[in-house]
Amino acid sequence: MSSTDIAIHQTDMHHGHDEHDHDHDQNFIEKYIFSQDHKVIAKQYLFTGIAWAFIGGFLSVLFRLQLGWPEATFSFLEPILGGWVQNGKLDPEFYLALVTMHGTIMVFFVLTAGLSGTFSNFLIPLQIGARDMASGFMNMLSYWIFFLSSVIMFASLFIETGPAGGGWTVYPPLSALPQAISGSALGMTLWLISMALFVVSTLLGGINYITTIINLRTKGMSMTKLPLTIWAFFLTAIVGLLSFPVLLSAALLLIFDRSFGTSFYLSDIYIAGEALSNTGGSPILFQHLFWFLGHPEVYIVIMPAFGIASEVIATNARKPIFGYRAMIGSLMGISVLSIIVWAHHMFVTGMNPFLGSVFMFLTLIIAVPSAVKVFNWLATLWRGNIRFTTPMLFAIGFVSIFISGGLTGIILGNSALDIQLHDTYFVVAHFHLVMGAAAFFGMFCGVYHWYPKMFGRMMDEKLGYVHFWLTFLAVYLVFLPMHYVGIAGFPRRYYNWTGFETFNIFTDLNTFISIAAILGFFAQFVFLFNFIYSMFKGRRSPLNPWHSNTLEWTTPINPGHGNWPGEIPTVYRWPYDYSKPGAAEDYIPQHIPFSETQSSNLPQERVLE
């Protein structure tokens, strides 16, 4: 046995060396650092995203400690937090900074860059049959600008006045006045610079994704033969292209208000008994501009997860996806609606109630395409020949969490109910389920499913199961009770609530939530171990480990730059020919012409033979 193993190793090493040689002798920097290969860039995004996810998760553990044990002393945190812990108590402004940075990191750096950046980059060329992105150079630039933006945001965690503390939505006037709180000082400036760079990076990436999908599809790969992952990335990129520029506008105006004395968002402000000279501006204006990005952003986060889950569910249920065109249609519907519902975040800003009801109406319509997707996933699972692989568990978990979180969206979308629920833990629970946890599940699902393509090895199934069940349970244990305290009016972003008689009865529940959250955080180390360990010691992956139809599995196990050694395969069929009656196997990859599958061709496909 051992001798065969060694033999395999040797041939593999030899093969790798060969490839390296004829691959125009790239040095280490060209190959792994400033690489223009979409697969390497995708991995760079993935590693950065995972690093950010652990930082963001760690911050949430810190503030959950404060919320769960408000009377406790945290002297043991002094070695890491230094001056932010005074006499064993967390500094209240630091608490606000923690919440702000948790939101910013998770929404932008993990679930936008880490999710879209990883899987759009990795899968678009592989699944549409292209050698690389349209512009490898711009793709590389996109990652390195994101990296720069990350470095600036990371640096802001360590400055004396602390990182930005005005909430991830950075509403002015709080964020516009450095003298207001320490979290609006240098930390806020760095936040704005970092986010401006982040927008540039997202646009560079998005333009590339869209162009690649339009121009670089292989022969036969029509738009209605694209895997749903690609449709999801395509529409995500378009939504990002239209909404991120508006965040850039909002941020630039805020930078001017903060640093150059303009009054775009400021008017009639007294601070520390002194009147500011700013006049004429409107803080509500910022909210409109911010949420014009902010709302599409949640769909930018969740749509890639839609695509990944659709693909994984169809593959592992060994059934064609139910309602392929309805899936595309609902993605389009969600994309359009996402851009015209932003003011439902602003029901209590004093906007005209009639306008509120228009936005409420549009918001509730989103339930229709979302329900179409959910029913299609359930119908795909229905009587499928389900294989409970780790990615499949995460895909099913994704559907479950998306339903749970989506249902409360219908409640929150009502402008009348929102008066009670606004800024309570009900909102926190809602969006953490529907876009936070659901998108994370989509991401895990993608990582487990395409890990063999990324690293040529399989992740460990048993550890995957442990990771899934711990995470799945933790998510529900954290967020279900949160709905309950939210309905009772428990407000979000409060450092300390023990002073309120009404909320004291929730002490135990808060402790419970905190314990679940901390367990959930530690469960992620199972994933981290599995991820790193499998890279070196994992079981070697066969060519097509999941018996999947899409084109990426026709490449070599470790594809080089250019993806296919020979000619790019031509596409003849859609990607969901699973368990086709009469077929020799329960899957027919996209590059198999109909002439080779005469026994399984449907009557309307006979003409294609």
Binding site: I207, I210, N215, G220, M223, P245, S249, T262
Partner: protein, 248 residues
Amino acid sequence: MSTTTTLEAPNTGTWDGGNEPMKASYGKLMMWFFLLSDAFTFGAFLIVYGLARHKHMPYTGKADDFTFSTEWWPIPEKVYNAFPGLHGMDLPLAFVALMTMILILSSVTMVLAVEAGNRMDKNDVQKWLLWTILFGATFLGCQAWEWTHFITGTEEGMLLADGTRIFGANLTMNQYGPPLFADLFFFITGFHGTHVLSGVVLLIMIFINTVNGVYHKRGHYEMVEKVGLYWHFVDLVWVFVFTFFYLI
């Protein structure tokens, strides 16, 4: 089944892959999508302008009696009525009309450069690019003058309640009206000016490449076309900026 050719051939329609469905190279598509996103950035700024303007009182008296006041949004004709070298004359919007003409002319010369590129006429491309650079730079010069005048202010300035007068405008105070008027003027025309400046830099770069024969060797002048798209976009944005600031 009858022929082997149909057996193996994939569909070959417009959107069936293996081609460029919009008949545009990836570079040109990228430029279009960039412009689409940039349009949203500018759109947001112009909406901010519209909202700020709507929030302030308009001037309701007779136009002849108009004075600058922070109480109302100024009448554009009364603000932009100076012309270099013609001191003290009231020439409403004359200078900005000239600037606009220059920028539109630069678009015309850009079209001619692209057209010359399609004919592979290197000399014509050079000639028309040079004209475009010249007009673009002139526009920037005009804007610099306009800004200087706006910052320096008029001789009368604005009479404040306490009897003092302020002259000119900056980001915190403004002799022409509410401070926000000046803030928006500087920000939006400045943002547009930055775009023009980057356009001129791009034009100089492709001019140098054209002179060195880079595009001729490459066999096509598509880069000129791409920069042309950007240049027309910047021109189009100016038309909107002009409309918002000077006409309505």
